[in-house]
Each structure stands twice: as C-alpha cells, then as structure tokens.
C-alpha cells in the first residue's frame, strides 16, 4: 500500500492514564510505616494485583513529584510571589490601571470594556485549579497580617472563589505562570455579581459602581468602597484545604 501523509498529536497530560501499579500501605504503632509496590495484571478485563516489592524512599519521593507535576523544587522568586507550598501559590498584583470588560446589558451596552484603575489584589490558586482573589488596601506588598477585602469584581464569590465559567485556565501553578493567570483573569468577560451580600459599599450598588468606573468617574480606585472579609492573608493560606 502506498504510504500517506500523516498528522499525529502527541499528548501531554491529556493522554489517558492507565492503571499500572498498586501500592499497599502498612501502618503500625507511632509513625511506623511500610509500603510495597505491585505490578498490575489483567484477568479478562479485571485488574489484578501481582506480586510486589518494597517501595523505597527514593521511589516514594519520585512518585510524590510525579503526582505534583506543578511543584517546583526551586528557582528565582519574583517579588509578586507571596506564598508557595507544593502546588499552591499566592501572588500579589499591585494597584494599576488595567482593561476590564463586561458582558451585561446593565452597564449600558451588551459588551463594554475600558481601562480603569484597580486596587491591589491577591490571587491564590492550587493544583486542582481552585482559584481565589481578594483585594488589599494600599500599594505596599502585603504581608501575612494584611487584611483581605472582597475583590470588587463580578463573578467572584464571597469567599474569594472565582467563577471561571468557560474561561480557559492556564496550566500550571508555578511562578512563571503568574502572568498567564493574570491574563486569564483580566482577559475574561465579567457578567454578573456572585456574592450574596455586598460586593462594594457604594451608593447605587455594584452595577452603579462599575458603570461609574467605566465612565471614568474615578481617576484612582476608591478603596473606601471595598468590603472587609474579616480575614487576613495568613488565615486563607494557613487553612488552605479547609477554608478558601
């Protein structure tokens, strides 16, 4: 048969994951532990655990790194990076004028975007791509004691969680991906408020606030409108699994 021109795609993490090994974990008193790693066989379509061998500490560390692909062992730390633990990362975006776009008729047009002043922001994302944002007052790099304020944006929940909808999220939670995450946030359309309470303290509410912002009524971001969350940066990072 005559050969043909072909086009293949070599997948990375999109490729299917196949069951390849099993680890049996033995626990004793105190911190005593022993683990064995086993090949997987098949009887028909049913997977079987075949005989194994001891899981060495080196193999366990390698496995941990494979499971946390985004966790980097080291590298230069940018000034905006506030916190890094495994695949969880938090960073600061200083106050600045940036473009923001809305897709809601309540702001005067089906789609509307302007360059407007923004407050300082803290973002947090983890390996499961749970993504949060809060505002912080002032232009100084926040510390762990810095109070967090509700980010004044649509599509952000009361706990800081970002409703991503159909936004294409960046891959990876390493320092060099910070700009990609920033672009994903500021490059998406904001459509509707997600908080149950007040998004901002502003006469006329959140819609009026953003209409005024888009109309250029505020040369600088009016920090007085920001709503307190009652939490500090340390609060949301120290309890990162249980809370935010």
């Amino acid at each position: 048969m005559k050969p043909a021109v072909t086009f293949d795609i070599v997948a990375g993490r999109e490729a299917p994951l196949r069951l390849s090994k099993a680890i049996l974990l033995y626990r004793g008193g105190g911190d005593a532990a022993f683990a064995t790693v086993h090949e997987i066989g098949l009887r028909g379509k049913a997977p079987l655990i075949l005989e194994g061998k001891a899981l060495t500490p080196g193999a366990a560390v390698q496995l941990a790194l494979d499971l946390a692909k985004n966790a980097k062992r080291g590298g230069f730390v940018p000034e905006c990076l506030l916190y890094l633990d495994g695949d969880t990362m938090a960073w600061w975006v200083p106050p600045a004028r940036r473009h923001i776009a809305f897709r809601t008729t309540e702001l005067g047009a089906p789609e509307r975007g302007e360059v407007v002043p923004h407050p300082g922001l803290v973002f947090k994302v983890d390996g499961r791509r749970r993504w949060h944002v809060w505002a912080v007052a002032g232009a100084a790099r926040p510390s762990e004691a810095s109070p967090l304020l509700q980010a004044p944006y649509f599509n952000v929940y009361g706990d800081g969680g970002i409703c991503t909808g159909n936004v294409s999220l960046p891959d990876g939670t390493t320092a060099e991906r910070i700009e990609a995450w920033n672009q994903a946030f500021f490059g998406s359309f904001f459509t509707h408020p997600n908080v149950q309470g007040k998004l901002v303290t502003y006469r006329g509410g959140a819609m009026k606030f953003w209409r005024d912002m888009l109309d250029g009524r505020h040369a600088e971001f009016p920090e007085r409108v920001l709503v307190s969350t009652g939490r500090t940066l340390a609060d949301v990072l120290a309890h990162r699994e249980s809370s935010a």
């Binding site: 050969p3 043909a4 021109v5 072909t6 086009f7 293949d8 795609i9 070599v10 997948a11 990375g12 993490r13 999109e14 490729a15 299917p16 994951l17 196949r18 069951l19 099993a22 066989g41 098949l42 009887r43 379509k45 049913a46 997977p47 079987l48 655990i49 075949l50 692909k69 791509r129 294409s168 999220l169 960046p170 891959d171 990876g172 060099e176 991906r177 990609a180």
Partner: protein
C-alpha cells in the same frame, strides 16, 4: 485453586484507564484554536466533539493531505506536540502555553545518475542545473542528501575536514604501509567518491556551472522531449519559490533528518556514507526532523499566519517530490535530444 494463593483482584468499579480532567482544558483549547484558525471547518458531530484531541488530529490530517495530494515518493509525517508531551527528540524548550509542530519522513535512496547524465547530454549543464536547484532548495522542503553532501560528509566525518583521506590514514595508521593499504581498502576514499560521481555532481553548488533562467525557459518551451519540458517547467517553478528560513529545525546535535539520498547508481557509495554518518550521529544528540514551528493555542491568528506561510512549503514539497520521482523512474536513455 486454593483461595489463599489467588492474586487479589480489584473491585470491578476500579477503572483500568481514565482521562484526566486537568489536561482536557489544553485539548479543548487546541481544538478551539484550530477552529478559529480555520483548520476545523464545518459541523463536527457531538460524538466526535467529545474527544477534542481526536477531532483535532483528524482535521489536521485532512488539512495537510489536501495540500500534499498526489505525492509519489516523499511522504512527510507531521506531529503536534502538546505542552508537557514527552519528546524523544532534542527539541528545544517551548514557551509555556505553546505547542510545537514538527515534520519528518523516512529516508529512502533514489537513483538519479542516469537521468542527470542524460540531461547533461541533452543540453550541457542541464543535469548540473537540476542538481543545483535540488541542493539549494531541498533543505527547506524535504532535505535531500546529494552527491555534494556525500563529499562534504566524507570530508567532515572520515577525513578530519581534509579534501581526502591522507591525514586520516596518517593519524590512524602511522607509517605502516601495509596497514595504510588495508585501511584504504576498507574506508571511503576520495578516489572511490570521484569514481562514483561526475566531478560537477560533488562540486559546491555555488561553484557549479549552471544554466541561466532564460536558457531553462527556452528548454521548457522548446525541448523535443515532453518529459524534459515538464521536468524543466517544474524546476523553474521550484526555483522561483520564495522560501525563507522560518521553519528550519532548531535542535541540538547532528542533523540527520534527510528524506532522500540521491545515488548515482543503485546502492552506491552515497548510501554507505549516509548510513555510516547517520548511525554514528544518533549515538549522541541529533535532529531527525526536517521542519518545525510553534504557536500559542491562545492565538489562532498567529497559527493562521504560520499555516499560510506553510503553503509555499507544501508547493515546494510537491515539486521536489515530483522532480525526484521523475529523475529516478523510467528509461532516460530513450529520451530524445534536441529542440522543437
């Protein structure tokens, strides 16, 4: 069987395979990018759309096949490497969010000596001109190992950069005449290369005497042989292509990504030189693909521009494929001389 000796089976609810959610965003983003860039066209049925990678692959293959229809002997294979894909090649690191497309082809030998010598006989310097155009253009299309490459590789690879084997023999055999003779017998020598090709074939293409474009146009219009007229027309078209360096492979190591080895006679010394060199090269870092580009899956316009720039490559690949096929097939002795 004693139940105690049975291997433990996992619950039937545990799957042997699953698709991770984490990477699907990239697969979807790729499909979206291909859709916006115009590669994916028309309706995609819902069942296909559930597998964005397979859909992307099918449309990419259709896209490239439409552009490389009717090839005879050189069949490139394209590969899109998604971010994080493990690569067996020495591809350079890409920017985050970028994917890379590379292409390569299996390498085959084509006997072109009879055709090129007949072309020389039909019109002096016509064979040399055909070879020069292949030498000048093929690196940007389907890299072709020509007699000039055979000579250059012999100099670099066997002869320590010299014009012949004298220094290599001295280095390896010293003053022992018997050992020298035995080694000369076995190795690729200048004499063997000179015997395998006419002098103009191994000459640097920049020095090789060739026909002007006007002379080629005259042959394309008035040669008695229809076959010669068609071949020279294709040659003119190939030479006229505006081929930039944009898609050249960029990797570390020896380049071995040739798609064709041109020999003068079947299994002549060019094959041995290429095989020796390629086998040695792949022991270290090597580049075995012939072209590449990358793009951000968030920038479909950039991809559209790259694909647009590839069109001239595809035209060149078709012409080069046709030229090598024509030179290596049929009976050239019967092709008549003269003009109409």
């Amino acid at each position: 069987m004693n139940a105690a000796f049975q291997l433990p089976a996992l619950s039937a609810g545990i799957p042997c395979e699953f698709k991770p959610d984490a990477g699907q965003d990239q697969a979807i983003a790729l499909a979206r990018c291909l859709l916006d860039a115009g590669v994916i066209q028309g309706a995609v049925d819902a069942r296909r759309a559930r597998d964005p990678l397979r859909t992307s692959r099918a449309f990419l293959e259709q896209w490239v096949r439409e552009r490389l229809q009717g090839l005879h002997c050189l069949f490139p294979s394209f590969r899109l490497m998604l971010e994080g894909a493990s690569s067996a090649t020495s591809l350079r690191q890409r920017e985050p969010g970028h994917v890379c497309v590379v292409w390569h082809t299996d390498c085959s030998a084509f006997v072109v000596g009879e055709a090129l010598e007949r072309l020389e006989a039909i019109h002096p310097k016509l064979g040399a001109t055909v070879l020069s155009v292949i030498d000048r253009t093929s690196a940007k299309l389907i890299p072709t190992f020509t007699p000039w490459d055979a000579m250059g590789t012999a100099q670099d690879y066997y002869w320590y950069g010299e014009q012949d084997e004298s220094v290599a023999l001295e280095e390896q055999c010293g003053d022992d005449p018997n050992e020298r003779e035995a080694m000369r017998e076995q190795m690729v020598t200048r004499e063997k290369i000179d015997a395998a090709f006419p002098p103009w074939a191994t000459q640097w293409p920049g020095q090789r005497k060739r026909l002007s474009r006007r002379a080629l146009q005259a042959i394309a219009g008035r040669a008695r042989s229809r076959r010669v007229r068609a071949l020279v027309s294709d040659l003119l078209a190939l030479e006229a292509l505006d081929l930039s360096d944009e898609f050249l492979p960029d990797g570390d190591g020896w380049f071995v990504g040739y798609g064709a080895v041109l020999t003068w006679k079947p299994d002549d010394i060019a094959v041995r030189i290429f095989d020796d060199f390629a086998n040695d090269a792949v022991q270290g870092d090597y580049v075995d693909w012939m072209g590449e580009f990358d793009f951000s899956i968030e920038e479909p316009d950039a991809l559209r521009r790259k694909l647009g720039a590839m069109e001239v490559r595809f035209a060149g690949m078709r012409l080069l494929d046709g030229l090598i096929h024509e030179l290596s097939s049929g009976d050239w002795h019967r092709v008549p001389k003269g003009m109409r």
